[in-house]
């Protein structure tokens, strides 16, 4: 209940855990308000950045090393989903043909992935465009004409 009471003297691991939690919170943006259907997870693949302009919502998915044709981008009931699969790097390296190999680091994501984003009310899901360049998938969701900011001309009364 009270972490400080349960801690034994010299339990400096607990301090590290607290520090880790705080860093995670800051780095993963868990302290930011997020949509209930798209809560950011630490280390989720692909990482997502979302930006908005007057005309559109732009989503950037950092998904390197994937065949663009195999990426599945879909919109259903206001939910945008990005799904696909990434193969492990082991197979295509020259040493896979035979012989011994040592693995020193295996940090890169491999396997199936799926991430979803709840689109805002003013999004126009029928005109979503997706492009893949340098390992980044860019999805542009235009906003409805009616929701765009516009200038209203004031006419002089006669």
């Amino acid at each position: 209940m009270y972490p400080s009471m349960l801690r034994t003297a010299g339990d400096w691991f607990a301090d590290f855990e607290q520090l880790q939690d705080r860093i995670d919170e800051l780095l993963t943006g868990r302290s930011m308000t997020s949509s209930i259907r798209a809560v950011g997870r630490a280390g989720a693949f692909p990482a997502l950045n979302v930006g908005t302009s007057a005309d559109a919502l732009e989503i950037y998915a950092f998904a390197p090393g994937i065949d663009p044709k195999s990426i599945d981008v879909s919109v259903e009931k206001g939910i945008l989903a990005i799904a696909g699969e990434r193969a492990a790097a082991n197979g295509d390296a020259p040493a896979a043909k035979g012989g011994e190999r040592n693995v020193y680091a295996s940090e890169r994501f491999a396997g199936k992935f799926r991430r979803v984003i709840a689109l805002p009310e003013d999004a126009e899901p029928s005109r979503v465009e997706a492009t893949y360049r340098n390992g980044v998938l860019k999805v542009v969701v235009p906003k409805r004409e009616s929701s765009k900011p516009r200038q209203i001309q004031v006419s002089s009364g006669s």
Binding site: F62, P94, V103, G135
Partner: protein, 134 residues
């Protein structure tokens, strides 16, 4: 913790980098896979949003540094509403051991994935010594 003497050990680089007064602020640590076979070491790094012409791979003595800016080509009118990637450049350094031939490093970048092949120096390759029968 050192697995073997001839590994490419991820070195502890400070996150805050300043190089030639150009870039300050936090950098992203790219995720890597590192394999070793008899011929050398293969390093695979995720560098999404990096164009080939922007990628800088430097060898200084026994230190290998990968550095590249992230270019998304977003319009300036864009306001960020949610961000998991919060820095605009990648940087990571590795310490190379002396049995690797730094002059023959081969690099390829495709779809944001960098593949580096660092061959072993000839004298460091394992070889079989035949025992003569007298």
């Amino acid at each position: 913790m050192q697995p073997q003497a001839n590994t490419v050990a991820p070195s502890q680089q400070p996150q805050q980098v300043q190089r030639g007064g150009q870039r300050t602020g936090p950098s992203l640590l790219p995720a890597v896979d590192i394999f070793e076979d008899a011929g050398g070491i293969t390093l695979v790094a995720d560098l999404p949003g990096v164009a080939r012409e922007d990628l800088a791979i430097g060898v200084d003595g026994r230190s290998l540094t990968i550095e590249a800016p992230v270019q998304l080509g977003e319009s300036s009118a864009l306001t960020s509403v949610y961000a998991e990637v919060r820095a605009n450049h990648f940087r990571r350094s590795f310490e190379l051991s002396s049995d690797l031939d730094t002059a023959k490093i081969d690099a390829g970048l495709r779809d944001g994935v960098l593949t580096l092949r660092i061959p072993k120096a000839e004298q460091a390759k394992p070889r079989r010594i035949d025992v003569r029968v007298e």
